[in-house]
């Protein structure tokens, strides 16, 4: 083990950290909106909406993320009407393609998590809300959603970790985030183990902080479970 190589690789790998974080946060934010819409449509009972959303979640959960990224980055650029459309300035950028693929992917998984959580909201609470005279929208906003979000947090924490790891695939379409930089440095120095360890520790650090944040959110949302002073 060469400690100087490890020490020297740290600043270069750490410099790639912001890009990884940017990919993850933007994908998670867009994915959350997508998941919310998908879960609502899925539970709406409308036949067309249900068919569309189940197909979306089936396709994106049943194929590897790498296929999705390549299909969006390389595949779409082959189509004439995509290149002529107003979306081209966005879709010709690897950054936006990576975020789009990651967001669509996490959106599919998160919508299933959210749907499961909404379905576990006790019927009694819904009935109680209705008995209080709440409208559907108010009931959803005040009762169903808060309970469901609390319920889904542990599973969502896993999804966040998966997204942090999945952001490494952006390196396959030229994005120089942590894994991309690590790969290039391995090819230059052949200090495989050293660079793997430093890059790995960076990812573990991100995941550690992410888990802590989710756990803190869970703690904030469950004041009734805390021991009373």
């Amino acid at each position: 083990m060469n400690w100087t190589v490890m020490w020297d690789s740290l600043p270069r790998l750490a410099a790639a950290l912001p890009l990884t974080l940017q990919l993850v946060t933007m994908a998670l934010a867009a994915g959350a909106v997508l998941a919310f819409a998908t879960a609502l449509l899925r539970l709406s009972g409308n036949r067309v909406a249900v068919a569309l959303t189940s197909t979306y979640s089936f396709v994106f959960r049943g194929t590897p993320l790498l296929v999705q990224i390549f299909l969006i980055y390389y595949g779409l650029s082959q189509l004439e009407f995509v290149r002529d459309s107003f979306l081209w300035p966005v879709l010709s950028q690897p950054m936006w393609c990576a975020i789009l693929a990651l967001a669509l992917n996490t959106g599919a998984y998160t919508s299933e998590i959210l749907r499961g959580a909404i379905e576990t909201v006790p019927q009694g609470q819904v009935e109680a809300a209705r008995a209080c005279g709440m409208s559907r929208v108010r009931m959803f906003r005040r009762i169903v959603l808060p309970v469901a979000v609390r319920q889904m947090l542990p599973a969502y924490g896993n999804e966040v970790i998966l997204m942090v790891k999945a952001s490494s695939l952006a390196s396959t379409i030229t994005m120089m985030e942590i894994t991309g930089v690590a790969r290039r440095m391995i090819a230059q120095t052949f200090a495989v183990m050293e660079i793997f360890i430093v890059a790995g520790i960076l990812y573990l650090l991100i995941n550690f902080i992410a888990t802590r944040l989710i756990r803190h959110a869970e703690w904030r949302m469950t004041p009734y479970l805390r021991a009373r002073a």
Partner: protein
Amino acid sequence: MLDLLTSGLHGWGPQLLSGTAMTIAVALSSFLLGLAFGAAGAAAKLSDSLVLRGLAELYTTAVRGVPELLVIYLLFFGGSGMIMAVAGIFGYSGYVELNAFSIGVAAVGLISGAYSTEVIRGAVKSVPYGQIEAARACGMGRWRILRRVLVPQTLRFALPGLGNVWQLTLKDTALISVTALAEIMRVAHTAAGSTRQSFLFYSVAALLYLALTTVSTTAFQRAERYASRGVRRA
């Protein structure tokens, strides 16, 4: 369908089919290797030894927290060196080169094993302790308890979780395409490059993966039904 595959895809049909076979071969081998790692990892996590528990904890935390691609790069660029270092301890000083298949299986198996460890550990713990006490009271030895009481029930409890691990493993094999092993993704990439029909070939790749995941979902559902045939349902 077969006709379309052989002649329709600019002549790339046969390669895509053999790529699919390669994907299945890598996924199966990695999954089995992962089960072996998982069983060992679960045994270590449930053991009394602090060192074994610590090592197993390090394994699952590190592998599940680090991107799969990074693990693949580690073995792809460093695998031969590691094997040679180990061979050196035993007095062998020749050059060892690993082929893409074994590197891929080792990498994906290592990842799959970390997830299997957690699944198997949970399944072992859900076998009621009373049954083990009962088996001991019947005079069964450690191995017989393991074989007759623990393993059969652990398998049943672990099946749904292992189904998820299989799906993960199957999808992770796509990442081995970076090592130039001719599985679905690699063939699609090459075909897309030479015909400039990327949309077509990546769509075909996606469909092939969808077919594989759909078939395996059904297979695991059947296996679950078979494994719980003796269980009373509410």
